[in-house]
């Protein structure tokens, strides 16, 4: 399988890169690890005329701990995140999520955190070769006007956001730094996602995700990530969940739960805080209630965009949500990192 033709730039610094994005506009894509983009190009799903490589931008490849928390450049390799001791010690949920991405030899050395967050949505009817797609009508995402993943069809695209790192980072209230030639803006990570299947990111054509900011760990907080898949590597999640639990004196004071792989963007479960707040951390009955809420919320979104059945994935939301919340609460109480917890 060959790649279609394009022009290639390797800017020496971020400024130059942003200049290029600005001048090429929508015909241009940022090339980081290439593990998602190049497959899509081979399948003819995207055909940028220009690729701007981040290879030489060492300023985007840095991970460091500051007083405010963790600062991760968008082009930091997933392997570097896993190898970074503070992540292992203080952000076990992030460690679990990054570890769960793809298969290690892709993830470790090529894939980047920015690439994982900015990957396009997936659907079993869309993420196929040209040959495969040619036998059907063009779907919404491909510029047509139908959706095969939604029972009875739909006027919008029902693809799923398959980033494994997004749910946990959102649960931890991570922020992202977005830059263009003339502007820098910082916003909560969840605002990166549009929940529009056709165009799942809110990035403008001339913008680039440059940094992820994760708040500093607080005493009494715990994080966890859960992923359900047939196999232990390679697979995209049928359902995933990121959970953050802040406790004080054994009670939950703040909590977030974000479900991945089921909706057009990461799905924040709104009722979780109301139900769990001030309850003893790890209270199974309360967690069960939240898990059922999560399932009911997800049920409105889950489409037939994977080969696994919708009904099964829907039901598994509750199981995966419960497991993530329970483990996050356990960690909050025990204050153990990923490696210790194992």
């Amino acid at each position: 399988m060959r790649l279609p033709p394009f022009a290639y730039d390797r800017p020496r610094d971020l400024y130059e890169a942003l200049e290029l994005l600005n001048s090429y506009g929508k015909d241009c894509k940022v090339l980081a690890g290439g593990t998602d983009l190049l497959v899509r190009m081979k399948q003819g799903l995207v055909a940028p005329t220009h690729l701007v490589s981040l290879k030489a931008l060492s300023e985007l490849a840095e991970i460091k701990e500051t007083g405010d928390g963790l600062q991760i450049g968008a082009a930091v390799k997933l392997s570097d995140i896993l190898a970074y001791q503070p992540v292992q010690d203080h952000w076990p949920g992030l460690f679990e999520a990054v570890k769960a991405i793809g298969a290690p030899s892709i993830q470790h050395f090529s894939g980047t955190i920015g690439g994982n967050l900015c990957q396009d949505n997936r659907c079993q009817f869309y993420d196929q070769s040209k040959f495969f797609r040619a036998a059907r009508q063009t779907c919404n995402k491909a510029g047509g006007s139908t959706c095969f993943a939604w029972k009875g069809g739909s006027d919008k695209c029902h693809s799923a956001c398959q980033s494994d790192s997004a749910p946990i980072l959102i649960a931890m209230d991570a922020k992202v730094v977005i830059k263009s030639k003339n502007e820098t803006r910082t916003m909560p990570l969840e605002e990166l996602y549009s929940s529009v299947g056709e165009r799942p990111l809110t990035l403008a054509d001339n913008e680039m995700l440059t940094e992820i900011l994760v708040p500093a760990p607080t005493p009494g907080a715990g994080t966890a990530f859960e992923k359900l898949a047939y196999r232990s590597s390679i697979d995209y999640a049928m359902v995933s969940a990121g959970a953050f639990v802040q406790t004080e004196g054994g009670r939950t004071t703040r909590v977030r739960l974000v479900i991945g792989a089921v909706a057009r963007g990461p799905l924040s479960i709104a009722t979780v805080e109301k139900t769990l707040k001030n309850r003893p951390a790890g209270d199974q009955q309360a967690i069960n209630e939240v898990a059922i809420d999560a399932m009911n919320t997800a049920a409105a979104f889950i489409a037939n965009n994977m080969t696994q059945p919708v009904e099964y994935r829907t039901k598994m939301v509750s199981v995966i949500a419960k497991r993530a919340l329970t483990r996050a609460a356990e960690r909050a109480i025990s204050q153990k990192g990923f490696l210790e917890a194992k």
Binding site: L3, P5, Y8, R10, G34, T35, A103, P104, S105, I106
Partner: protein
């Protein structure tokens, strides 16, 4: 599209080439340089057959632009043996029956080499992890894991 210059070291040999931007590293190796040891098993980064080392780290050459490899050192399976001496991993694969049809072998070897370079005392779990993005249909992975373990064991002895 216009070709762009590419300076690259492959198995210790330096090349000054001009390649098209859409050339993958795998195409460069197999079609332009006749280094056919790396295999295309899927072309989309799932099977691992095309894995080579870039500056000592395993990458999928089918999803790596040749130009992205500019200025790096690439090692392919052809470059594992040194001066006619097989790499200990090659020897171990051969002795442990880790090779059947052989199509996944070069990718597996390069992943294992990457592991040995980066984590010379890896345990069973790390070994499985390192080759978990590689599909083998013949061996059930058992003998491959065993072969890598044996080399790790040896390096432990040396320590």
């Amino acid at each position: 599209m216009n070709k762009q210059p590419l300076e690259i070291s492959i198995n210790g040999d330096c090349y000054s080439l001009a390649v098209e931007p859409n050339r993958t590293l795998l195409e460069l190796l197999r079609e332009d340089l006749d280094l056919t040891g790396a295999k295309e098993g899927c072309g989309e980064g799932v099977c691992g057959g095309c894995t080579v080392l870039m500056d000592g780290k395993p990458v999928r050459s089918c999803l790596t632009l040749a130009l992205e490899a500019s200025g790096t050192h690439i090692t392919t399976v052809e470059g594992l043996a040194q001066k006619g001496e097989l790499d200990p991993l090659q020897q171990s694969f051969i002795e442990h029956g880790a090779v059947q049809c052989g199509f996944c072998t070069s990718g597996m070897l390069m992943a294992a080499k990457g592991l040995a370079l980066n984590n010379p005392h890896a345990g069973n779990k790390e070994i499985r992890n390192a080759i978990s993005g590689h599909i083998c249909r013949c061996t059930g992975y058992t003998k491959i894991i065993e072969a890598v373990e044996a080399v790790v064991d040896r390096s432990l002895e040396k320590r």
